[in-house]
Structures are given as C-alpha cells and as structure tokens.
Subunit: 281 residues, 2 copies
C-alpha cells in the first residue's frame, strides 16, 4: 500500500478503538506494523488446520526475545500437546470452550524459581524473598505473552488469552507439574482464524494517557461517553445475571464489568500463590 | 529483501539470542515483523532530536490497543514533560542517568482504581478486593508496556525500560500525584538511537520452553552453558561488589545476577503497594 493509504488504515483502526482521529505522519517507518498492532483482534474461532510445532517454537523464541527486567528472564512458555491434559483443563473452564478446541494451546508461566536457584548455585544469599519476586515474574511473563501474541498475529494466526486458568490455578499447576514459585499467568488459544474478528473500542485516551500528573477528574463522564460509543452499531450485550440485577434499560461496558465483578472471583488465588512458595510481604 | 533473506536474518538474530538455528518457513507472512521482534535491542543513548508529542500519543494509542484481561483496561500511560519532575525522578535513580537525558520519558501505571470506581458508579458491590486486583493490573500494564516498546521500535525509536523507579516508588507516586490503587510498574526512556545496540543472548530454549510438563532437571547445566555462550566475544563484565565477593576467575550472567540480588532490594515495595490501598490477601 502507498504510505498515505497505510497511514489512513492506521488512523481508521485507532478511530474505531478510541473514537478519535490521531495525527499521523505518513512518512514514518513501520506504519504497517503499527497498523497490525492497532488493529489487534481476539480470535476464538479457528480453521481446522494445525499450527506446525516448528512455528510454535519460532513464536516462543520471538516472545522470549522481549525485554526482561534486569535481565532476569523470569518467564517460561509451556506448550500443551497432550490431549488428556488439555481436556482436563478445558473441562474446568467450561465458559471458554475454545480451550479444548483451538488447534494449539499454551500456558505462560511466571518463574520466581530460577532467581533464588542461581543465588544458591553461586553460593550467594537471596535476601529478596518478598513481593518484588512475584511482581517482577508476573510482569516479565506478561511481556512475553504480549510479544507472543504480536508475533503470532504478524504471521496471520489468531489468539485468545485465557486468564480464566487462574480460576483453577491449583489444578492447572498440578496437571502441568509446576514446581514451587512457578505459576500460570494466562493460557493462550492459537490457530488460523476462521473469521475476521473485530476491533474492540477502548476507553478514550483522555482517560488513560496523562501528562506530568495523573488526572481523572472526569472519569464518570469519560466512562459514560465510552459506554455510548462502544454500543454504537454493535448487537446488544447479553445482560449478566438479570435474576439478581434485573434488565437494565441502558446496558454498556461499565454495567457489564460491574456485574461481572459483583461476584467473588479468584478469592483463593492469593492462598494459591503463597502455597506455591511466594512471599507477598 | 527477498523472503529467503528475511528468513535468514530472522534465523541469525535468534541464533545470537538462543544459540540455536531454528527452522523457518520462508513463505510465512510477517517475517519482517518477526525479525524486528527477535532483534529487539535496549537503547540507552539517543540522538539529540526530540520525539514529536503527536508520535508519543500515537504510540500510546497503539500500546493501549493491546489485549486487556477480561476487557478491564487496567493500565495508563503518563508522559513526563515537566523538566522539574523529570529531574527529581532522575536525581533519585543515579545509576540510570538516561532517565534525565533521554528525549522523552514515560511512566507505565497499573490501575486498580477504575474497576472498583465502576462498581460504585453502577451501584454494585465489589467483593474482589484481594491479590487478583493487583495481579491483573500489573499484568495488563506490562502488556501495554511491551506493546509500546514494540510500536516504538517499529518506527525506529529506541527504548530503555526503567524498573528502578520502583526502588523509589513512593517518591515517584507523589511527584506524579498517583491516587490510591494506581502504582508505577516501569518508566521508559525513549529517543532516536545513536548506536545500533546489540542483541542480548538469552537462556537456551531448552530451559524456558516446555512441553506438557514443566521440566528443568538440567537447570544448573543449562545455566552454565548459557553463561559460557553469553560471554563469547563480549567484553568482560564489570564485576559487582568485589569488596564483598572478590574477583571471580569466571564471571558470567549467573554470578552477576546472584551478586546483584545478594543485596536487599525494594524490601519496602510491599509496604508501598499496601499503603496505596491494594490488599494482597
């Protein structure tokens, strides 16, 4: 595509995302890659063809090339090929049936094990067994996950991250034989998409990009505006839990998220993380 | 470049990174983007020219287009333009002088504030004030950070993430006026690189990519092999803290990381996170 057309495609994708036409210099390098990033779509439906194991390994290598806090390398990728393990995980997350059916399924691991292992190996103390170890490992793992998704989308694959595996963290941990201080952050369904997917609108940049000081004085108004923008031209939401909350006359993102988190979720996750040997002091 | 040449460039970058020549199908789409991902370099030295504010905003929009756990959008980007704020942060992180000198400096924020705010706005309870709130926000923020770096590198900018701002989390939080349940995950120096940079080798994939079950039986041997591979052709490390540990005859990555974390680091970070209103139960 000529540069002007690529710049316009990027501007169009971001207009759908944020409700704003950003100023873009068409002479910038990398506009095609920015458009791919801006047009990110989650894919839950896939063609039946498999994803070659060598391609999965290549994407893992790209993902593990991502920046790593203090060069500590605190993340691993686990590829679930065994059908029995996959079915056991899928059976416990029935709301995400694509866990059982996607051509490939991976689990991204936060690894707080290697760092103290290295301290022992080199005969050094490790006086840092506190929240920082978990924090860094989760952050590192999330960076690897994001980079994997980026690489997968670049080759035309579609992804769906599965944070719901943390609803069943102990079971997943046992099935994958995760040792102490290695925990699952998210699963990932992967395959060649069977549908184009759609760009999910996000909160306006006035709510999420700040200069010098954090500011969200107009947060309620920003959320209302986002709810309305997001509902334009989309089919109505399936209202959550109408038995408890009734049918809302206007139902948008904020009502949906408020209803979703009005139920206790992952209340045992802290206990799981501690049982895996992390200290959260 | 013809596809075969791009595939070879990708293979070369990953060989430097992991010490292994991966099998790559030259007919894959997206090989140029994969090569850019695989060849990621950290940049700490920049040309004097500024990064246009519209470009920073464009990159923020791309970054905030990244996947968001359960569509919760728990991350913000703060652009530090005020010289006094920047100098105050830089003065407290003297080991990272580029914080004060990079053409642009940003801070990536984990936001656990909006979600309970939405519950209140919509008249719903929020029975999820536990570790999950912090975990999701940190993970989301790290995904946004990784996506920002990817987008910045695509246009030719260089980045250096600054996790050391967490060594001074309370000070940074005060300077940026972060409200309760909004915390800094990392800073980011940004500019047009003045040097090509280099690809940092990583642990071999045998240590970090697993199939079906986590396995690291040979971890000590894998780390030794990595230490040796990483030292090939690079200038010797500056040994940390020789007063305490002496001069090691062989000094590699694992010795360096063990020495780095033999000192207490960020021991007050858990207290900071709790003081900002997160509960870690």
């Amino acid at each position: 595509m000529p540069d002007d057309d690529v710049a316009k495609a990027l501007q169009d994708a971001l207009a759908v995302r944020f409700g704003e036409r950003l100023s873009i210099d068409p002479s910038l390098d990398g506009l095609t890659e920015l458009t791919s990033i801006a047009a990110h779509r989650t894919h839950r439906r896939y063609l039946p063809q498999p994803v070659a194991p060598e391609l999965v390994r290549l994407l893992c290598a790209c993902a593990l090339s991502a920046p790593s806090k203090s060069d500590l390398q605190q993340s691993d990728v686990l590829v679930v090929r065994d059908g029995a393990i996959r079915r056991a995980i899928a059976a416990k997350i029935p709301d995400n049936p694509w866990v059982g059916t996607a051509p490939a399924f991976l689990v991204f691991l936060a690894n707080g094990r290697r760092q103290p292992f290295i301290s022992t190996l080199r005969g050094k103390p490790f006086p840092n067994d506190h929240l920082d170890l978990l924090f860094n490992a989760v952050s590192n793992c999330s960076i690897v996950l994001a980079t994997f998704i980026r690489a997968a989308e670049a080759v035309g694959l579609g992804c769906c991250p599965i944070s719901a595996i943390r609803d069943r963290a102990a079971l997943v941990s046992d099935l994958l034989r995760l040792p102490d201080r290695v925990i699952p952050v998210a699963g990932l369904c992967l395959g060649w998409p069977s549908e184009r997917g759609h760009i999910t609108p996000r909160l306006g940049l006035e709510a999420t990009v700040h200069t010098d000081h954090y500011g969200d004085r107009d947060l309620a108004a920003d959320i209302d505006a986002y709810d309305r923008r997001r509902n334009e031209g989309r089919p109505p939401w399936k209202q959550r839990n109408p038995e408890r909350w009734g049918e809302a006359a206007f139902y948008g993102w904020s009502e949906d998220k408020a209803r979703q988190y009005a139920e206790p979720l992952r209340a045992d996750f802290g206990a799981f993380v501690r049982a895996k040997g992390f200290r959260l002091d």
